[in-house]
Symmetry: C2
Subunit: 680 residues, 2 copies
């Protein structure tokens, strides 16, 4: 290995910094503690290593430090080759006034560098000691639902609330990928190491990423590579027909297998460290193996065989259900679909297939039950899927911090309190598994070409928290929030930090308060999924019903009298949810149909709980706005303006939610509010 | 006047007949009774006269008749100049074995010719006599909501259910206007004499019809002219800004007035017999004079001054209401809007302004009250507006004949039974008017470039009936239906005619049965307006609410306890509607909020009425399908296939309507069906 010192590399890559774009959690000032010291770097010449060097060089140049030889340094960053070590792990040692970060691979060193940045002055002033820090799972992924061609309904970014795409501009991959480079740097500094660059709903143009658009894929991969990020592409099951001119996509047809093998050859020839394919098949109208009488395992394994010679992965999504359901049919329960479609095939998926399962059995609701499918496949690599973009959680117009929600989901003890969690399953530690089946964690990104990246500037916190939680699902989400605040607003007075903390900390719970109550789900406007529409999906083909009548509301999913969904859970949850006595309040209407006058564990009736939470939800938003307004002048004007504009819409929308939901429950139940507040 | 005999005109225009397009009510066979006879024509050389000659020439050529000199004819068609006569009227004389049609103008002669065609053999075999037949009003108009540029949401034809536009193809006026010529002929044969060729929602491209697209307007006008049809264009209030580069559209600004005057000069220079402008201003987001603090009268009169020197008309739409209403605000009632916005300005509109008012105060519902604004403006030319395209009536997927509905609306006695009607107002015969203020009748067309013109072939009957009713609002709509059947299926056996009659005759009432009940309105899917969504608009900004709760449903529009809308009607209706005792059942929920157990005049409760009509509505549709299926083989295969396909969708949709509405009422009321039928 050749060690390259900073002083010997005059042509380092320049860091992707553009003062016209908000720096998110990597403002120049965040590098001051590191950059003001004497720093020694000893690395090889890999792309990621050069990023480490470039970061250090820029930091010391900006903050008055020095690049020095190892012996004279306050801070040392050095590779320590070790074939057995996790290439993403690093060791931090603080001793005798010197801070040393070592890693077996440049990727580990880059994570170590950003770790120092996150720690700030404390990195250098804390107590002596040694810490080895490794990620929870080697698969920490973000999926982009970005379309190359603007979709007539879904637009440039499906469920995107932050402007256009950083990758694409109305029909073509962008020539200038500067924003992608900036994004890659932000992701590396939060812990993400894989990105799927296009929407799982794959159109004709996007299908060509496997063909004549491959040079564009290679360009994007080249931008991600220096940040330790692997590129994946979403593919269409119909690609052999659309692109290859075949008459079938049957996974058992030799010409189809051959076509995919050649496609994989092409892709890896263009991008030798390519990650693999993500696929949404037989789902919401996308083509899939069902058309040929084949199973999801048949389909996934055929693709897996094509990419296996290259070390590639197949992320096969489990979001499969009947979206042409008849609302009159009470036997069918959409919540049961993923389990029914995938659990029977556990153990039959190839080693390089990852089944990607949404965390809830419906679709990213503010509160829904955990997906039992995630716990049901010990012989399969399972990646729980999350959503950073706020499709059902306010479109990045509402200030909603999701760290606490995700933390709760990641830590859900599928086999009872104290037992293995969702995060354990993702890391291959299913109690009935062999420990090798690592699926990792995946989520849908929330960025766009917006100057603040995320539409609502405070929604940056979600992207940051997602990365940090994939690295360490056990991390305290509130500490992550404060970490994000500290990095993003490094020079702000304490009151700014306190305000942001107060506005965001329990904002998920606040959002739950003013929207659909008690796990009832889907009281949103159909299509857009923004704003209230209590009966919006009640008679639709989407399988999302609550059966409200003048007496009660909720979905009976018990084994005793309902759809039997509770039976998909391992103990104790199959019984906890089955029983009206033990079912948690917040999921009551997800599992049971009850009278409006049913008394919750809280002691309140369902309907009074609805009234109280909806009045309180708006009050909490108004309190956030009050605090925000008081602190406004301490923020940069452009950011302050944007947040203020978003708060105005949030207040309007929250008021609408409060009044529509309260009115709906009052009209149905006839039960007046115990406190005689205004309901319309 | 030079008389041109058939034999002296070898270069007549060819009739626009294309065997690949369905002939609608002008199949070749319909001309057999006329074409098999000896026909003499004596006309001038006007475009319409040449159409008369062309029709006769083609008919005799096809059916073995002869063109002869007047003395030797079985049938004579001749101009009889008379400056005082209605140029569209004609006189039919049957005497001594000769049938003579005379008219003061070629337009009257053309109508007389089509009258003979409609009468068929009976035209020549009936009793002797003389009949002078004139249209009810000289303004019989169809509006097209066709866009030149495909609108991202509304498409090529807004609320169009018959394919693309016959005028435009994705961004441009069609080079080939053959379909327009065919359409013009069909319209002339039904009685229409004015067409507005573009959507009242005017986009940037459509604005250019006043400018660089004027040659296209002239081409279209040239196609309509030989059929006695005058061309109008919809304009944008913002045209002076968009097109003229002005900074204002203020009607009081001299440069705006000047701009419109020059625009009118340009238009009439290109089309000397141009009709005028249609405008939707300050309505659903369209710009208008409100932005400048001016009234609708200010706006309309400014435009009127610009077109007056050319004899032009301004059709100013009264569809003005607050579409950003707060559903919590019970004082505002969208039904009151047209009256409130326009009635105060009665008498102040210029002589060439026609205020175009939808027949109901909401928006073309299957059953709503009459618009009181139509009766409130004796000093104004008022054109009631109808909708031939079935926006809320099944998208031309459901077989719904609207003749009976329109007949009822046209004959509505605004001042009590036996008194003046809506049709009288349209003809200038308002009881408080001076008889000169003729607004005529207008409707939105239902045709597109579909091979059957109207998507559902049986929806042709609506286009035909609309034309016939504008000519004679007192005509029996059932006779018109049979007339359409006879013309369109001239050689069909009696069973075909009986089937079509049975399927269509009471189909409007059937549609009412299975959709929103008792005048409650707007239980449709928002946006598309197809299919049931009982609460779809309940919390929306569109001002269309029914306030259903567990106890009752309906809108209290009384003066005593409601919005006061009933006070906008003249006697006796202001009292008839006010009183729960006298309000007609079919409008009960339009005017009153009542318990589900309220007993109708029919003796049934509201909720049992809902159940019964919804079960019966589907039964009636199934009976229509049964009859249709039995007769299927007697129809041309392509038409039979299309109708059969539509019926399949109608049955699916009707079943959905039945079950959703019944379920909604059952869930809200808790009242079981007296006959224990299945409700979900």
């Amino acid at each position: 290995m050749e060690h390259i010192a900073v002083t010997r590399t005059p042509h380092l890559p320049s860091l992707p910094v553009d003062p016209s774009v908000h720096p998110a959690w990597l403002p120049q000032a965040a590098f001051a503690p590191l950059g003001s010291r004497r720093v020694a770097v000893a690395v090889d010449d890999s792309p990621v290593a050069r990023t480490v060097l470039a970061e250090v060089t820029a930091a010391v140049a900006a903050h008055g430090g020095e690049s020095v030889a190892p012996g004279a340094a306050d801070v040392e960053l050095a590779l320590r080759p070790d074939a057995a070590a996790d290439p993403e792990a690093f060791t931090l040692t603080r001793a005798a006034g010197v801070v040393a970060v070592t890693a077996a691979d440049a990727r580990g060193l880059l994570y170590g560098l950003y770790h120092l940045v996150r720690l700030g002055e404390e990195a250098f002033t804390g107590a002596d000691g040694t810490w080895t820090i490794a990620p929870h799972t080697p698969l920490r992924m973000l999926d982009h639902w970005d379309n190359i061609a603007v979709h007539p309904v879904m637009g440039q970014v499906e469920r995107g609330y932050a402007g256009g795409s950083i990758f694409y501009d109305d029909g073509a991959v962008r020539a200038d990928l500067t924003r992608v480079a900036q994004y890659a740097r932000l992701l590396a500094a939060s812990g993400i190491n894989r990105v799927a660059i296009n929407n799982v709903n794959v159109g004709p143009l996007e299908t060509r990423l496997l063909d004549d658009l491959l040079p564009d894929v290679a360009r994007i991969a080249g931008v991600f590579r220096p940040y330790g990020i692997t590129t994946h592409v979403s593919v269409s099951w119909a690609a052999p027909v659309r692109l290859g001119g075949l008459t079938t996509s049957d996974p058992f047809a030799p010409e189809v297998q051959e076509w995919w093998a050649r496609a994989a050859d092409r892709v890896w020839a263009a991008v030798p460290d390519f990650g693999g394919f993500v696929i949404k098949a037989d789902s919401e109208g996308q083509p899939g193996p069902f058309a040929y009488g084949r199973t999801h395992a048949d389909g996934a394994n055929m693709l897996a065989a094509a990419v296996a010679p290259h070390g590639g992965l197949i992320h096969w999504r489990a979001f499969v259900y009947n979206h042409q359901q008849d609302w009159r049919d009470r036997r069918t329960d959409r919540a049961k679909a993923a389990y029914e479609h995938f659990a029977p095939y556990d153990g039959t998926f190839a080693d390089n297939v990852i089944v990607q399962i949404k965390h809830g059995p419906l679709d990213f609701q503010v509160r829904e039950a955990m997906s039992p499918a995630i716990a049901a496949m010990p012989g399969t690599r399972v990646a729980p899927e999350f959503q950073v973009t706020t499709e059902y959680l306010g479109h990045q117009k509402h200030a909603v911090y999701l760290g606490r929600m995700w933390s709760q989901l990641l830590g859900f003890p599928y086999w009872g309190t104290g037992g293995r969690t969702l995060a354990d399953v993702a890391a291959g530690r299913h109690p009935d598994g062999d420990g090798t089946r690592v699926g990792g964690l995946a989520a849908v990104s929330n960025v766009g070409d917006d100057v603040f990246w995320t539409g609502h500037p405070l929604a940056q916190a979600n992207l940051y928290a997602w990365g940090r939680l994939t690295w360490d699902p056990s991390a305290d989400p509130v500490a992550i929030l404060d970490e994000w605040i500290g990095l993003t607003f490094p020079d702000a007075p304490a009151v700014v930090r306190e305000t942001l903390h107060a506005v965001l900390d329990e904002s998920w719970e606040t959002y739950e308060q003013y929207t659909a109550p008690l796990g009832v789900c889907f009281m949103v406007q159909p299509g857009s999924h923004y704003g209230p529409s209590p009966d919006g999906y009640e008679y639709s083909p989407w399988g999302t019903y609550h059966f409200a009548d003048r007496d009660g509301i909720g979905v009976d999913r018990t084994r005793a009298t309902g759809t039997g969904f509770t039976g998909q859970y391992p103990a104790p949850w199959c019984d906890v949810y089955e029983s009206l006595e033990t079912c948690p309040d917040e999921l009551l209407l997800f599992f049971h149909h009850v009278p409006y006058t049913h008394v919750l564990h809280s002691g309140k009736t369902v309907v009074q709980h609805v009234y109280d939470t909806h009045f309180e939800g708006l009050e909490r938003v108004l309190e956030s706005v009050r605090r925000w307004t008081e602190t406004l002048d301490a923020f940069p004007a452009d950011l302050a303006d944007r947040v203020t504009e978003r708060f105005a819409e949030q207040v309007r929308s929250t008021t609408d939610w409060r009044d529509v939901i309260n009115t709906y429950f009052l009209r149905h139940s006839g039960v007046p509010d115990a406190h005689a507040r205004q309901i319309f």
